[in-house]
Amino acid sequence: MLAHIDQIRADFPILQSRVHGKPLIYFDNAATSQKPKTVIDALTTYYQQSNANIHRGAHYLAAKATGEYEATRETVRAFLNARTEREVIFTRGVTEAVNLVAQTWGRQVLKQDDEILLSAMEHHSNIVPWQLIAQEKGAKIVVIPITEAGELRMDEFTKLLSEKTKLVSIVHASNALGTINPVKDIIRQAHAVGAKVFLDGAQSAVHLPIDVQALDCDFFAFSGHKVYAPTGIGALYGKEALLESMPPYHGGGEMIKDVDFEGSTYNELPYKFEAGTPNIADVIAFKAAFDYLQTLDREAIALHEQDLLAYATEAIQTIEGVRLIGTAPEKMSVLSFVLEGIHHGDIGTLLDMQGIAVRTGHHCAQPLMKRLGLSGTVRASFALYNTKEEIDVFITALRKAQKMLI
């Protein structure tokens, strides 16, 4: 058990709420995490003390806001262990990052009959942007199959790789199953055939240490709101040479060097990909989230989350009719399950009435649900502030829901 868990819980104001008259138990962390007070305060402080447009202004506040904004970039660089700040592009989140790479790198590189390898467990945001560009370019989406336990078929992956493979875009850890994919092996094999690799780190960034140099991935994207930062902000890492070679995504202010009606030249990295006034307040509060994590022992947090997953996995299997969905040995703290003969939506409603927030449905991974022959699952996902006591309440509540529905 994590030391000082009560102190940690006290850092997150929303955890003191009551829902339908019961203390809130928040188990929907894979959808979005709650925010510590320091992050919430950073937003207010920015608007009260630093608000100005960045990079351009000739005044004190502009310099202050610019400094704070760029300080976040350095923090993200360090968090990912990117080589330089030029490799860190702020985006709205993973979805925008995938679209950015698809519409710039993809548009420039992809040709007729080229192949993009995705896995059967991808989130829609790592499917649809590639479909859009693939349709336009005549490229093909090829799907790496998974096992019943929810693991990638690495043997099939190896067979699917060829000189036609231009990109492997894969989720680092599955939001619907929790599976942690063997990305290092995937990257090595993909590079051997000359393909680039995009890692969707939406779920992994908050739980696993990320080192983009050690991984050697070409792109890595994650969302702030899943790492205790505000919504609407995230980051895309790309190897500098690749980012340099890519055309801009959005045109507008900030991303230009020189504009003429005959043509324009573009700003250097990372600004080339940050058109318009950016989301300054959320970028600055993004740093507050990393600063908060810095105050904690991240290794102890990872162990705590694994401990919660193991505890919940064991406890839930004492309930008759429970079937776990996603039983890979390497998992994030995501517990996805179905209850025999009961619709996942009904479970969600009756847990909610007992103050427990879970996600139900297809988890934005419809192809995965079709592959598993399910219309959806119930998903409980744990974060650093969750406790075994909450899991006990959840199990009791689940039994009660089951009894009401049978």
């Binding site: 619709h343 939506g345 009904d346 909610d352 009435m353 009660k400």
Partner: protein, 136 residues
């Protein structure tokens, strides 16, 4: 009975229950009593869009009134559907289109009216109104 008379009847019925468990158990029971919609009517075109669970709605016009048959694969949703059928079935298209559905709030089911995709009560109501307008 008019739409509002039925709504008031349902409100009175639910007033008997103080605890949420009893309200939901009653709702689930009401769902179970919903007349069966034959399998051949459960076609994709009759599925209400915007629901996480599957809800099938079959409207027919009988003597100037809209008769709704419905089903769902989720029990709470089916309970909500059964309430809608009870209120809106065998009413005139005009009354269905203009009805003010105040009942859900009064019986403590307000949360199901939000525009989340979790159960789509709002989508069902919209669909029933559209059918009514189309049949008028």
């Amino acid at each position: 009975m008019s739409i509002n008379e039925i709504q008031n009847e349902i409100i009175e019925e639910f007033e008997l229950f103080d605890e949420w468990e009893d309200r939901y158990t009653h709702l689930i029971e009401l769902g179970k009593k919903l007349p069966i919609l034959p399998e051949e009517h459960k076609t994709p075109d009759r599925i209400v869009k915007g629901c996480q669970s599957s809800v099938w709605l079959l409207p027919t016009l009988q003597a100037g009134k809209v008769v709704f048959q419905a089903d769902s694969d989720a029990m709470i949703v089916k309970g909500l559907v059964s309430l809608l059928v009870r209120i809106l079935s065998e009413q005139t298209p005009q009354d269905i289109a203009t009805a003010e559905l105040y009942m859900f709030e009064k019986i403590g089911m307000t949360q199901h009216l939000s525009m989340t995709r979790a159960n789509g009560l709002a989508s069902m109501i919209k669909q029933m109104r559209m059918y009514a307008i189309a049949l008028s």
